[in-house]
């Protein structure tokens, strides 16, 4: 049996007509020629008709059709008549289907990446747009909250309870772990310095003030932004994908009242409670380290009691309420504005966490500066 090489052969050229015969098996496993080889042989200036014959063609699959399509598009582009009547009827039919719809040409658009994205005026505009959008979102939330107070909002209290449970008790484990360890870290950090002056007992002061004013609430907020803020963004983003938010709007219900308000209220209610819990565990964590340094529990508690102040505690709690709002706003806004694909939902969740952490740190710094200025 003669094995024929896969390829094509020029049968005749002349009088504006060129004939080419295909040979062998044009299948996936064979090394078949690239269209560029044929293009080199095809002189479009002198040839008006291009005939392709399949007499010596054995088996074929998509490899052949991909080749033929490239021929067709090239011939069409250079106004050469492409004659496929010599090919197997199956291939002719498929080529007919493949060429039934003209090639779509994508309209030019500005690239999203590259140097254009570093343009300062563009960045400023994007920043301002983000700010105004966030503010208008806050405005809508405020209107919804006012309506809620007046008893006119479409907010389901059942949802509120579910979200409270998800944002509160279900977060106990991670909050416990994080706050005990942060309390211990704070104590170690201070102990190393205080030991030099023989003032180890003041570890309690450091831990208590640090935890109440700052670390308890900040660590809770960061955990909650990753845990609950991202969850809100993913839930609302999936609802957007599923057209659930469209359904809510067309039922005449504001998605802010129906979806954002219960989530935000749940977080605002739960965050101060979690913060108090985190404060307590942080102080206990500090006590464990202090115990290891030879300070008796009684001494530690005594010192902690001396330094404890309601002002510090309430600053921490006030922060927690503000942080809760910021996390809920960042999470829900990213979710509601999410695109409608799995990738977009992922982006929304990422954005929610990034934005809420930025908000948290800026707000924390601002509150600390204000406290410093007014002397509390």
């Amino acid at each position: 049996m003669i094995t024929e090489q896969t390829g094509f052969e020029i049968i005749s050229v002349g009088q504006g007509k060129m004939s080419v015969g295909l040979q062998g098996n044009w299948t996936q496993s064979q090394q078949s020629p690239d269209f560029s080889q044929l293009r080199a042989a095809l002189d479009v200036n002198s040839v008006q008709q291009f005939f392709i014959s399949g007499v010596d063609l054995k088996e074929w699959d998509s490899t052949l059709l991909a080749f033929l399509l490239a021929c067709h598009n090239y011939c069409q582009g250079s106004k050469v008549e492409f004659d496929v009547s010599g090919l197997p009827s199956g291939a002719q039919k498929l080529l007919e289907v493949a060429t039934a719809v003209p090639i779509h040409i994508r309209p030019k658009e500005l690239s999203r990446f590259g140097l254009a994205s570093l343009d300062p005026s563009g960045l400023t505009r994007a920043g301002i747009k983000h700010l105004t959008d966030s503010l208008s979102f806050v405005g809508e939330v405020s209107i919804a909250l006012t309506k809620l107070v007046m008893g006119k909002a479409n907010t389901r209290m059942v949802d509120f309870k579910v979200f409270c449970y998800a944002a509160g008790p279900e977060a106990f484990f991670i909050i416990s772990l994080v706050s005990v360890l942060v309390g211990m870290i704070l104590a170690y950090l201070g102990a190393a310095q205080l030991l030099q002056f023989g003032a180890e007992v003041y570890v309690a002061d450091l831990v208590v003030i640090g935890t109440l004013r700052e670390m308890g609430v900040l660590m809770t907020a960061i955990v909650m932004s990753g845990r609950t803020g991202a969850a809100y963004a993913a839930q609302l983003g999936t609802m957007q994908t599923n057209e659930e938010i469209d359904a809510i709007i067309t039922m005449g219900v504001s998605p802010i009242e129906f979806l954002v308000v219960p989530r935000m209220l749940a977080l605002v209610l739960m965050m101060p409670l979690l913060t108090l819990y985190a404060d307590l565990l942080g102080i206990i964590g500090g006590g464990i380290v202090a115990g290891g340094m030879g300070i008796s529990p009684l001494q530690y508690i005594n010192e902690a009691e001396n330094v404890f102040s309601w002002v510090d505690t309430s600053i921490g709690l006030a922060k927690s309420v503000i942080f809760a709002m910021l996390i809920a706003i960042a999470g829900c806004r990213s979710g509601i504005n999410s695109g409608r694909s799995s990738e977009a939902v992922g982006q929304a969740a990422t954005q929610a966490v990034v934005i809420s952490i930025v908000y948290l740190i800026i707000a924390d710094a601002a509150i600390n500066i204000i406290c410093q200025q007014i002397g509390i």
Binding site: T63, A66, V97, V101, S341, A344
Partner: protein
């Protein structure tokens, strides 16, 4: 390879259940090579569940599914992957990867299972997209095109490897009549050129009568198949009233399927 006379896909004593809730039981039928086979039935009768079993996404409680004489249910996961390479599947909502462009979606199976080089893959991708009427849409993301185009793009990905069996879950659901007819024609065209067997779940009557060569009717009340055969013949000569009514869009069939829902 087994003999051509033997059925391409055989379903034997198949029982499917979610937990203790039996969806369908004692299914026995053959799908022959070159058939366009339709799985029909009212909503909730287990059509999609049957397809999931055939694809190996769910395991049957009892019975076997046999491809080319080889049991699929008792196959190892490597053997299953091997069998699956000869399949093209489109899912109800397309199943395109939203983070990839259409070209990347179609490139993926070609990269995984063929030894084409980069240029060849690009020309094959262009050809497959042209076949479904999406030439030039290589660099679009699934989210940027319409629902009907997504269905066709999913078909382009399904046929990337010139499969032996094409599975469709509600291919024309949500398409306008013209697009859905074009899609039907495309399915027939694919079947003829690839010599493939087509298995589809659908309840679009026009498409059932236009292209199906064989079918099975799953009944939600008796929880088993009550009829098997060419849908046109079933419409005219079935001795099952429910099947006749279903195919003639009868009211009784609708009542029956509604009544069978667990409330």
């Amino acid at each position: 390879m087994s003999s051509k006379a033997k059925a391409h896909i055989e379903i034997r004593d198949l029982t499917m259940a979610y937990g203790s809730f039996v969806i369908q039981q004692d299914l026995n039928f053959d799908i022959n090579r070159g058939d366009i086979f339709v799985i029909m039935g009212g909503s909730g009768c287990g059509k999609s569940t049957l397809l999931k079993h055939m694809l190996g996404l769910m395991a049957p409680v009892k019975g076997d599914i046999i491809y080319d004489g080889v049991s699929f249910v008792s196959a190892s996961s490597e053997q299953r992957d091997k069998v699956r390479q000869n399949w093209g599947i489109t899912y109800q909502s397309g199943g395109l990867f939203s983070a990839m462009t259409l070209a990347e979606n179609i490139t993926l199976p070609l990269q995984l299972y063929t030894d084409y080089d980069r240029a060849e893959i690009a020309s094959i991708v262009a050809y497959k997209l042209s076949l479904v009427g999406l030439a030039g849409y290589q660099d679009y993301f699934p989210a940027e095109i319409s629902g009907g185009m997504r269905k066709r793009a999913a078909l382009a990905r399904a046929i990337a490897l010139d499969p032996d069996i094409l599975f469709f879950d509600e291919p024309s659901a949500g398409l306008d009549p013209i697009s859905s007819r074009l899609l039907d024609e495309l399915i027939v065209q694919m079947k003829e050129s690839l010599g493939a067997t087509v298995v589809m779940v659908t309840h679009e009557l026009p498409s059932i009568f236009d292209i199906a060569t064989n079918s099975v009717y799953l009944d939600a009340n008796t929880r088993t198949m009550i009829d098997y055969g060419n849908p046109q013949e079933l419409r005219d000569h079935s001795d099952q009233a429910v099947v006749k009514q279903f195919l003639a869009r009868g009211i009784e069939a609708a009542k029956n399927t509604m009544g069978s829902k667990r409330l």
